[in-house]
Symmetry: C2
Subunit: 174 residues, 2 copies
């Protein structure tokens, strides 16, 4: 072990373990709540939200993938599932014959409307109700730092050159 590795010290180990535990448990809690209250997975919920916030309730597949930090493959599978459920429908893109539009259906919007209140309540209960304004500000600052590093990495990796940074930033500015 006398090599050049910068091992974690006790304090760092504690923080890292805490990060793993807290983020994992919070994700799982949110997913479980959402699933139980409305039968929607978080991934599906996000897609419906993004579509509902777009004029015309429709978006290009690849834009939608970037907006949800999702691979194109993941999105394609997810939209297929949502199509089976009748909440989203695919449409050919008029301007690019390679393209597809994901379109939110009325049923999909209804499902989202039904799920949203419980979900927001869940987010409050497990996050916002627990932290002081100062802690929230600190959290936001930390997230900015991390995203400044992670978004470029994600963009550099993407299936093909993706606009994930622009899409993510756009979401954060709304």
């Amino acid at each position: 072990m006398g090599d050049g590795v910068r091992w974690l010290d006790t304090e760092e180990r504690r923080i890292w373990l805490g990060w793993i535990m807290s983020t994992r448990l919070l994700w799982e809690e949110m997913e479980r709540d959402l699933q139980r209250d409305s039968g929607l997975s978080f991934g599906h919920y996000e897609i419906l939200v993004m579509l509902s916030e777009t004029p015309g309730w429709r978006r290009r597949m690849s834009e939608l993938a970037d907006a949800t930090q999702s691979s194109r493959s993941r999105l394609s599978h997810a939209v297929s599932r949502l199509e089976e459920l009748g909440w989203v429908r695919r449409e050919a893109c008029p301007s690019d014959r390679r393209g597809q539009l994901a379109v939110l259906t009325d049923e999909g919007f209804a499902a989202l409307e039904a799920a949203a209140p419980m979900h927001v309540e869940s987010v409050r209960r497990h996050l916002f109700d627990l932290l002081s304004p100062e802690q929230l500000a600190n959290l936001q600052e930390i997230q900015e730092v991390l995203l400044d590093e992670l978004l470029p990495l994600a963009a550099a990796r993407g299936d093909t050159r993706s606009k994930i940074m622009e899409e993510a930033r756009a979401q954060l500015e709304r």
Copy 2:
């Protein structure tokens, strides 16, 4: 929408979206690095770490599940996979005939030893190198608050009455 729902305001939405994006991307980045550098998934890595830190390199299945905030089912499947790979082996528990011990093999320890340096490097690169000491302290404080709420929830939910809180706290105290 004039109902009693406490919707998120702009600032809250930004924080929530930031939390989703940053934690998702960081998880994915860590998993991808680990997978690429050593063929291990994060879940498998965690199990090997927990075993390697126990005297005798062996632990009861349920303890191991609690220590990794994992359901018993998840752990059972994971250990089966690790057994196929030759990194872990099951043993009957001498004191309780219902019980099973997961035992780390020499091959498993070797796999862990090979993976650890790159993984630690990855954790530093994506987290510790980016944050100031003050930001790290803030992060730790926030995690404490969240865990104080999430661990009891996880314990109350567990397959059966689990010691997830004790196991988690024990990890954090090392």
